[in-house]
Amino acid sequence: MKTEIKKLLKSIQIKAQKIGRPLRLMELCGTHSQTIAQNGIKSLMPDNIRLVSGPGCPVCVTAQKDIDIMVGLALAGIPVAVYGDAVQVPGNLMSLEEAGRKGAEVYIVYDITEAVKIAQKKPQLVFFGLGFETTTGMTAWAIKQGLMVYSAHKLFPPAMKALLANKKIKVDGFIDPGHVSVIIGVDVYCQFPIPQVVAGFEGKDVLIAIEKLLTQILNKERKVENAYQRLVKKEGNLKAQKLIQEVFKVADADWRGLGKIKKSGLKIRSKYQQQDAEVVHKKLIQKIKKEIKIKPSACQCGLVLQGLVEAKQCPLFGRSCTPDNPQGACMVSVEGSCNVEFRYVQNNK
């Protein structure tokens, strides 16, 4: 191990010890959860520091309803395109992957330009627009190219606000998302009275963020620090913001687990309504909503996403819900809290 990492870990140990009480630090972004898992960072933390995952996996927070609508469109014979991340997420009826097996035309794309290309041959194609600010710019670009989109895009700060408004959630500091911040900048976080550090995605970036959070907690400070200055500018990416602004308008949105959050989503402006699947397929979508019944489920993804319940406390965990047969989105994503937990438990039995 490099001496600088040793020093950093030592400093984390000392500061955690000085603080003494148990601390919960939340990484808001799913990619940070991934960095933490990939580098085994949880195994390096002092006993009184818990790292909890927040609602920053766009796949995990996508409402069941939105999956159902995409599945419904696909089953109704409309070709759909989707990022690989979302294809296995179960809806009330089935996942898009299953719809594909039933003969629906489901294209997995890695990059929205592939969807634009497919749409040249299949103009009916509907792209499932999901993700936070980082991914919204490309969807805006593609809509301007003429691609039809069903928008489930979400804004990050309203989710943070909702988390903090829930008094049951006890968090001592946030590791703010790196690539969302690339787009939206840093100032927007100042409204939240909690220690925060914007961090990059290397293992040491996350360790630095943890160390800085501990320093703030120790000094009883509540500020926003940018530890990802090599990429994140104070004002964000203005070009991307302008593009998003031009195509999308802010609207209320449903989040898995967090429910409806005011002004937390993005819908397509009427100027581009011919590219808006919700407008073009309005009647069909109403039918789908009526037809696909909400399946009662004991899945507790929602609570897991807020850090209120641990994966293994969910009654489905490890029983009817496994990575092979996921019941909720947290079990789908390889770095989703339930998926990670399942694999640890299995190996350490």
Binding site: G40, A76, G84, L284
Partner: protein
């Protein structure tokens, strides 16, 4: 519109009946593959003088030697890729399955199913690459079969090879012992990267690592306690198999990982774990500490990237010691390789 609604309703019913169909993941070398194989085996008879230890093939002991028998079916998209084609994989795959068991391959059977309309020129190219490997390794194609199907019944071309070899000592997957070291015969995952790069429009100099493994395994086989070629499911799948069957834990070290920078880059770009990338001309093995430097020295004559990548310890599972000093589980891949953006 009512037609659509009816369709949805019938799908709902069908869903409730739980008609089980084979999923694509069941062919990807992960957990679902293992489930499918056990389902298949349930209805087949396996008791005989043949021994099948869940390795890549079965063995039949004759005197002091073991006859070794294996079969493998090949479907590859695209058929031609940087560093090889389906023909080269088909012959190398069977040669390697025999070789990693410690056997010297002595003959191959080759069966082709060709879709009507397949270009003759391409077929000749594929057969030539089989011939080239057969000649270079001295392993003859001794029998075979050829079928042509109507257009649309299969996708272009399917090849099945079966092979027979002779071994003095069978290398099994359950032989790894605490105190052994884990070696890789070269950098891993380059076959997957050559294919994935082509499929997702990346350009790179990486070629498939597809090649026969006869010579190096003949040279080091006697020192190995377990050995596998990381094809489907990549190194993650085979290391977990060795750990599970040998009832030990494998600890890899991040600073000694056998991956070229391009493999790491594509893994990050597509969001696919590099440990799940298949190779078609590499093996991972365990060897007692006392032979480690000898084994590496021999292997480096064939591939300068051969190296020790970890150690065998008490416990279970496969773990990676990260460069930050943490530990991470290397799990069996769950299904097919889907690129992610998050």
């Amino acid at each position: 519109m009512s037609r659509i609604t009816n369709k949805l309703r019938s799908l709902l019913l069908e869903k409730m009946e739980k008609n089980k169909t084979i999923e694509l993941e069941a062919g990807a070398g992960g957990k679902k593959s293992n489930d499918l194989i056990s389902q298949i085996k349930k209805n087949l008879m396996f008791q005989s003088r043949w021994k099948n230890t869940d390795d890549d093939g079965a063995t039949f002991t004759i005197g002091k030697e073991h006859l070794t028998f294996t079969a493998d079916a090949f479907i590859v998209d695209p058929l031609f890729f940087p560093g090889g084609d389906i023909g080269k994989i088909a012959i190398c795959g069977t040669i390697n399955d025999l070789s990693v068991m410690g056997a010297r391959p002595i003959g191959i059977a080759l069966s082709l199913v060709i879709e009507e309309g397949f270009p003759e020129k391409d077929l000749q190219k594929i057969i030539q690459s089989i011939g080239k490997i057969s000649k270079a390794t001295g392993v003859p194609i001794v029998t075979g079969d050829t079928k042509v199907t109507e257009k649309g019944k299969i996708d272009k071309l399917e090849i099945t090879t079966a092979g027979v070899g002779i071994a003095k000592k069978i290398i099994q997957n359950n032989g790894a012992r605490v105190g052994d070291v884990v070696v890789a015969s070269g950098n891993l995952g380059e076959h997957a990267v050559a294919l994935l790069a082509k499929r997702f429009n990346y350009q790179s100099k990486i070629k498939s690592d597809c090649r026969p493994l006869i010579l190096e395994l003949q040279a080091v086989g006697k020192y190995l306690t377990s050995c596998k070629d990381p094809t489907r499911g990549g190194s993650a799948a085979v290391l977990n198999e060795i750990a599970e069957k040998s009832k030990i834990k494998i600890l890899l070290e991040e600073e000694r990982l056998p991956f070229a920078k391009e493999v790491v880059a594509l893994s990050e770009l597509l969001g696919i774990d590099k440990f799940s990338f298949p190779s078609e001309g590499r093996f991972v093995a365990t060897t007692p500490q006392k032979y480690a430097s000898k084994v590496i020295k021999i292997l480096q004559k064939y591939n300068s990237e051969a190296k020790i990548i970890g150690t065998v310890q008490k416990g279970k599972g496969v773990y990676l010691k990260t460069s930050l000093g943490g530990t991470k589980i290397i799990d069996v891949p769950q299904g097919k390789l889907i690129p992610r953006i998050c």
